[in-house]
């Protein structure tokens, strides 16, 4: 039992790293545009497909393909902001949600089409091999790299939000009109936010891709589905807090893994069940989030 719990916690934390990258992007975009971005995980899958094309199909070096994947994800994020979010900025939030879902579905459709000949693919790892085996579960170097990237990203975001452009971004998110009056371009800030969020999504995709084989829609509903856990993590952080989102992602990762304990052994989909009831309870008992003191979402 202790071994099982240990395995669940370790696996949960490493999966939580991917969820955290997705959740950070969701929180950033929610703060900037007030929309639940259903395309967030698709930025990741699209970046993963681009990186895969670089490494495997075109034989580029890994670092170049990695950057190419991030660039493609970022381009997709910027295009989404320009073509969908900006024209719909006066529409209601549910309309915007349907719009981002449309972006996700368009990306999935193109991925299905383009990967038709070989639907299931395998992205090579950055570093092969297993670093340690606590409780008999394998911790790969890929997992450690993901954790390292998450720490670097979190630190970079913390520094960035204290820099002038980071402060401008926060100002524009809190009060757009007032920010415009003191000379901040809300339009540019919105673009910047979507760009950063898309890069975060791309990181999640390219780093988590090598863990499993991937298909079209890998991060949205495929084998490495991170969209729903990412949303849950963001909700646990009250949709606005970034440290809250990271903590929430770890919690969601561990709770999902608890669903695969042997006491649920007779049923499949224990993880999905745990997540559904956990989300329901959190939203009903503490709708403002677990890791924040006061409700800030309006």
């Amino acid at each position: 039992m202790i071994t099982e719990l240990g395995i669940a916690v370790i696996n949960g934390v490493f999966i939580g790293c991917v969820y955290a990258l997705v959740a950070l992007g969701i929180v950033l975009i929610y703060r900037a545009s007030g929309v639940f971005n259903f395309a967030q995980a698709e930025f990741g899958t699209t970046g993963l497909f681009a990186a895969y094309a670089g490494v495997v199909l075109w034989g580029w070096p890994y670092w170049l393909s990695f950057l190419f994947g991030l660039a493609v994800a970022m381009a997709m994020g910027l295009a989404t902001e320009r073509l969908v979010i900006n024209p719909l900025r006066h529409a209601s939030r549910v309309t915007l949600l349907v719009g981002t879902a449309g972006v996700a579905l368009a990306a999935i459709g193109i991925q299905f089409w383009k990967s038709n000949e070989q639907p299931i693919r395998q992205m090579p790892k950055i570093v092969n091999g297993i670093a340690a085996e606590p409780f008999g579960t394998a911790v790969t170097y890929q997992h450690l790299v993901t954790l390292g990237v998450l720490i670097v990203v979190a630190a970079a975001l913390a520094v960035f939000f204290r820099s002038p452009s980071g402060l401008a971004l926060q100002a524009a998110q809190q009060e757009g009109t007032a920010a415009e009056l003191v000379g901040i371009s809300v339009r540019r800030v919105s673009m910047m936010t979507w760009g950063i969020a898309a890069v975060l999504g791309g990181l999640a995709g390219i780093l988590s891709g090598p863990n499993l084989t991937f298909t079209a829609g890998y991060l949205t509903f495929g084998a490495g589905a991170a969209l729903l856990p990412g949303f849950m993590a963001a909700v646990l952080g009250g949709m606005r807090s970034m440290p809250g989102a990271v903590a929430g992602a770890m919690a969601v990762g561990v709770i999902e893994q608890l669903g695969s304990l042997s006491i649920f052994g007779y049923y499949t989909g224990g993880g999905a069940m745990m997540l559904f009831f956990f989300l329901l309870i959190v939203l009903l008992v503490r709708p403002q989030g677990l890791f924040v003191r006061k409700a800030v979402a309006t």
Binding site: T95, L105, F231, L280
Partner: protein, 390 residues
């Protein structure tokens, strides 16, 4: 001159003060001008001809009656699927269009309806005619349970709960082998008398007609008017004494019932049901076809659903004979046409034609109902989906 006035005033006052009988609300009062337009004989003939043509397309062609084409069994199967998708589209329209609440887990409702119907027919050995009401009831019941718990949340958070419910149903509920048959799926026999695809198509049409009628009646009841009010502004609605939560729950239950019927028919149509059919992608497709069809526009939703159902496996592309063209120019196989083009249709709908297909066909549908042909009929400026909290 003064006498008739004094005689009039008490009468009107007493009429105004009497609350027992409210004057009937005349619908479409603004649309009728001083002298309403009446088409001439030629106009009626032209409209009648178009109606007859429509009826011929819907009723005669799939049954190979009085038609120069010969449709195979698989084509008629697609037609049945289109009718079922129309039922599902109407089900989502009740929720998104009338109540302004979005569900991203509608594939779960359809799937539960399908598996319940299959269970009733296969494992309990009951008749199909009993399975459909049971599936509808279970669909309504699960909507009532989920709604009672989670409708305290509104807007985006409710959408998130439905999304989580959809994934839960897909992975956990449909993973129960005793209920769904597991990975191997389940064989569902068709009802007696509707075994072949041609007669089954008419059965689906009949159910679609029933759902259309129920939807039409729903809008005209007290509940329908309450939904309209609370969608526009829930706070104002509740200050007028409308129980926002109760009526939203009602819409959710109605939507669940329609989805259950759609699921039961889908189980019979495919005759072989596997849990993998009901994934999140299907939920997105349902939302897509409803919004592209045009919220709150029954005809538009039906047309949108039919188009997406036919696009799904490339049937429409085959029928239009453009598959070779698409394959040679951009290398797009017909079966991916809907998946690739559909989302772009959605984005175009949201940004340019918020009224969807319903808005685009409004001039024709108004003309068919005996009005003047007006290119600018039915213009909608924005997809008005309520934005409650969050």
């Amino acid at each position: 001159m003064t006498e008739p006035q004094t005689a009039e005033i008490p009468k009107t006052e007493s009429e105004a003060e009497s609350t027992r009988e409210l004057p009937p609300v005349v619908a479409d009062q603004l649309d009728d001008e001083v002298a309403p337009f009446r088409p001439g004989v030629a106009g009626w003939l032209a409209r009648g001809a178009v109606w007859a043509l429509l009826a011929w397309v819907v009723f005669a062609i799939p049954g190979n009656v009085l038609s120069p084409f010969h449709l195979g069994v698989s084509d008629v199967g697609h037609a049945s699927k289109a009718a079922i998708f129309a039922i599902i589209g109407l089900s989502l329209n009740v929720l998104i269009g009338y109540a302004g609440t979005i569900s991203l887990g509608h594939q779960a409702f359809v799937g539960v309806g399908g598996f319940v119907s299959a269970y009733v027919v296969v494992d309990m050995g009951l008749e199909f005619w009993l399975a459909v009401p049971i599936a509808a009831a279970v669909g309504g019941l699960q909507a009532a349970l989920l709604g009672a718990v989670s409708l305290r949340l509104t807007g985006l958070y409710f959408a998130l709960v439905t999304l989580a419910y959809g994934v839960f149903a897909e992975e956990t509920l449909f993973g129960i082998t005793a209920f769904t048959g597991g990975e191997g799926g389940k064989n569902v026999p068709r009802p007696i008398g509707f075994g072949d695809d041609y007669s089954f198509y008419y059965l689906c049409l009949a159910f679609l007609a029933v759902v259309l009628w129920a939807d039409w009646r729903l809008v005209r009841t007290k509940g329908g008017r309450a939904l309209q009010a609370l969608r526009e502004n829930p706070r104002v609605a509740s200050s007028y004494g409308i129980d926002v939560k109760a009526y939203t729950l009602m819409a959710f239950v109605v939507s669940g019932i329609f989805a259950g019927i759609g699921g039961a028919l889908l189980a019979q149509q495919s005759t072989f049901l596997v849990p993998e059919t009901f994934d999140f992608e299907l939920a997105l497709l349902f939302v897509l076809m409803t919004v592209v069809g045009g919220l709150r526009n029954r005809v538009g939703v039906v047309i949108g659903s039919v188009i997406f159902a036919l696009l799904e496996e490339g049937t429409l592309v085959h029928l239009l004979h453009i598959d070779g063209f698409l394959d040679s120019t951009i290398g797009l196989p017909a079966e991916f046409f809907g998946l690739v083009v559909g989302p772009f249709l959605l984005l175009l709908t949201l940004t340019l034609y918020p009224g969807g297909i319903g808005q685009q066909i409004a001039p024709i549908s108004h003309w068919l109902r005996g009005r003047k042909f007006d290119l600018h009929a039915g213009k909608v400026t924005e997809v008005e989906v309520a934005d409650v909290r969050a």
